[in-house]
């Protein structure tokens, strides 16, 4: 089952929504970097924080021109280990596993 939409319809129907999402990411990185600069922390592209590294790497993946970006980003952010952990340290999840 393929998409019934033609490429021009995909763009017409979704461009504005995703234009806004790109601006949200830009404003988030600006917000991060303003706070980081004020506190003397690394800016987003040099951050060692697990989530910021995961986000930065995902943004690179968005531009590689290959298919299945959503799947590959989710895999990038996934815990790569295979064995159960000894005990649950908390209930929640933070959204990304540490990158290699």
């Amino acid at each position: 089952m393929s998409s019934p939409l033609r490429v021009d319809q995909v763009i017409d129907q979704y461009f504005l929504e995703h234009r806004a999402k790109v601006l949200d990411i830009a404003a988030f990185l600006d917000r991060h970097d303003r706070a980081a600069a004020a506190e003397g922390h690394p800016l987003s592209h040099e951050s060692r924080e697990i989530r910021m590294r995961a986000l930065t790497r995902a943004l690179e993946l968005l531009r590689d021109g290959k298919p299945d970006r959503a799947r590959r980003i989710l895999e990038l952010w996934s815990d790569p280990t295979t064995q159960p952990i000894a005990a649950a340290p908390m209930k929640g999840a933070i959204g990304a596993a540490p990158l290699a």
Binding site: I85, A88, A96
Partner: protein, 265 residues
């Protein structure tokens, strides 16, 4: 007309039932889950099971919605194996109630050893009684690993995968789940799971066989009208009415009817 096969009405208002009925909801199933706090005793779960099997069906019926349920102790409260076993001992007392479809939503949360032990004991209970299973997969970075561990645990006990639905699949887990013969659910949940747009994309990429959508609306930021919103997204893309009905009515009906307990007008 649609079915929302995973929603936590215990956390929703009666207004939500009314709005769901207006949007065409005719039946729901409510798995037992974590209510946002840890219960202090097995008795807390017994009261919850009474609510699921007694109170909610009546509240739903006021709006022409058939309410069904699944029982378990959820993975977020499974780290304490002693408590989990006390709750497991209570579950059989409720399994003959007419709206109970099976065991769920069981699974893993942080992929810990204790969670896995409690999961295995639930699978054994379901398997020994021939009950359907509804599986919760972990969130975010824990999902891929947890989904694999869960599928292995189910396969290890020889459960027929066509009687198990693995929920909260996303782009990285949908294919392995379907390829192993399980049913799969996509949860339309803001921020942490699928949007209606991504769910429609997944149908386009992976087909509609053994795949359904649900809201999993609960006490968090969530949307009890997520299923009709996804139907609307598919309609806007030009998908046929028969396909939209298949994913939001026929597929859940087919899976749930294996219980012999599911009814829809």
């Amino acid at each position: 007309m649609y079915i929302d096969p995973h929603i936590h009405m215990v956390s929703r208002t009666t207004d939500d039932y009314q709005r769901m009925a207006l949007a065409g909801c005719v039946a729901i199933t409510e798995p037992a889950f974590w209510a946002g706090y840890d219960r202090g005793s097995a008795q807390g779960f017994v009261d919850y099971f009474r609510l699921l099997t007694d109170t909610e069906p009546k509240r739903a019926a006021q709006f022409g919605i058939r309410h069904h349920t699944w029982l378990c102790i959820n993975p977020k409260e499974s780290e304490d194996i002693g408590l989990a076993r006390e709750v497991l001992a209570e579950i059989p007392k409720f399994l003959d109630r007419p709206s109970v479809l099976g065991i769920g939503e069981i699974g893993l949360n942080k992929n810990s050893r204790n969670e896995l032990v409690v999961l295995e004991e639930h699978i054994a209970l379901a398997h020994s009684r021939g009950l359907l299973i509804l599986v919760h997969t972990p969130h975010l970075e824990d999902k891929l690993k947890g989904t694999r561990l869960i599928m292995d645990a189910i396969a290890a006990q020889g459960v027929d995968p066509s009687r198990v639905l693995i929920d909260h699949v996303e782009e990285h887990t949908v294919r392995p789940v379907l390829d192993r013969g399980f049913w799969a659910g996509m949860t339309l949940y803001p921020d942490t799971k699928c949007t209606p747009q991504r769910a429609a994309d997944i149908f386009e990429m992976h087909g509609t066989e053994r795949l359904w959508i649900n809201s999993a609306a609960d006490w968090g930021v969530s949307d009890p009208l997520a299923v009709p919103k996804c139907r609307d997204e598919m309609r806007r893309r030009g998908h046929l009415d028969a396909i939209i009905k298949r994913v939001s009515f026929d597929n859940p009906k087919a899976f749930l009817s294996q219980s012999g307990r599911f009814s829809v007008k």
